[in-house]
């Protein structure tokens, strides 16, 4: 009795996934390290702007209102939390992989 071989398994490629075209896939493949680096840079810049705004306000710059200072620090807060979230996700994924039972 012959056993029919299992049909070769073709993993779904990104091009077949809904919403992602082949062109998008071939264009810049994002990696976590890159986006985390970008998020860190953004957070750093936002923090810098918040500090500068607070300094300008303290110096009595008439163009710098209270709300601008608070908004700048709120933006920095969000940017830092975004970077932290990316870091947490990456660590989580790493731990998940490391705990794989073989």
């Amino acid at each position: 009795m012959s056993i029919a071989p299992i049909a070769p398994f073709t993993p779904p490629v990104a091009a077949e996934l809904p919403g992602i075209t082949g062109a998008e896939r071939s264009a810049a493949r994002p990696d976590l390290a890159g986006s985390f680096g970008k998020a860190l840079e953004d957070a750093h810049a936002a923090e810098h702007r918040a500090t500068a705004a607070a300094e300008q306000f303290a110096k009595g710059d008439p163009g710098m209102g209270i709300h601008e200072v608070v908004i700048a620090s709120e933006k920095a807060n969000i940017a830092v939390r975004y970077a932290t979230t990316l870091k947490n996700k990456a660590l989580e994924a790493y731990r998940e992989l490391m705990n794989t039972q073989v």
Partner: protein, 144 residues
């Protein structure tokens, strides 16, 4: 920061807050000078009014939709050309030949209304801002 579209709403409401702050300053100036008979350039103080203008949001040029979103800025502070209020007071140093003193064309009731409008608009801007921040925080909390 162009990468985070949440900041667009924040930039827009920030521009609104700045504009309302200017409106508040102008209302304060009008109220403070409601009895000023001697202003720079001669004559009584003239009522000021803010002229608002929609402007592009700084740092947002990525998508056509984002470009359609506009912030606000005060384009100029105009002077009200309404005639001054004349009061008969011959003893006043600024009285004219007929004994009338020209007082500013400021109506305190109108200024109070302007002030309340500015205050409410400021509150609305803060609410927009808080909502945008809350949305960003909710998004960061996805999956947690």
């Amino acid at each position: 920061m162009s990468t985070m579209d949440f900041f667009t709403a924040m930039e827009v409401s920030a521009s609104g807050l700045s504009a309302e702050r200017t409106r508040m300053n102008v209302a304060a100036s009008n109220l403070a000078n409601a009895q000023t008979t001697q202003a720079a350039g001669g004559g009584p103080y003239k009522r000021r009014d803010v002229v608002m203008q929609s402007v592009d949001v700084p740092g947002v040029q990525r998508t056509p939709f984002a470009q359609a979103v506009k912030g606000v800025a005060v384009s100029q502070i105009s002077q009200d050309t309404a005639p001054p209020r004349l009061e008969y007071d011959p003893g006043h140093p600024q009285a004219n030949a007929q004994g009338y003193v020209a007082y500013p064309n400021v109506n305190p009731v109108e200024e109070m209304v302007d002030m309340i409008t500015a205050s409410r608009a400021y509150e609305a801007g803060i609410t927009t801002m808080t909502t945008a921040v809350n949305m960003a925080e909710r998004a960061l909390g996805i999956g947690r």
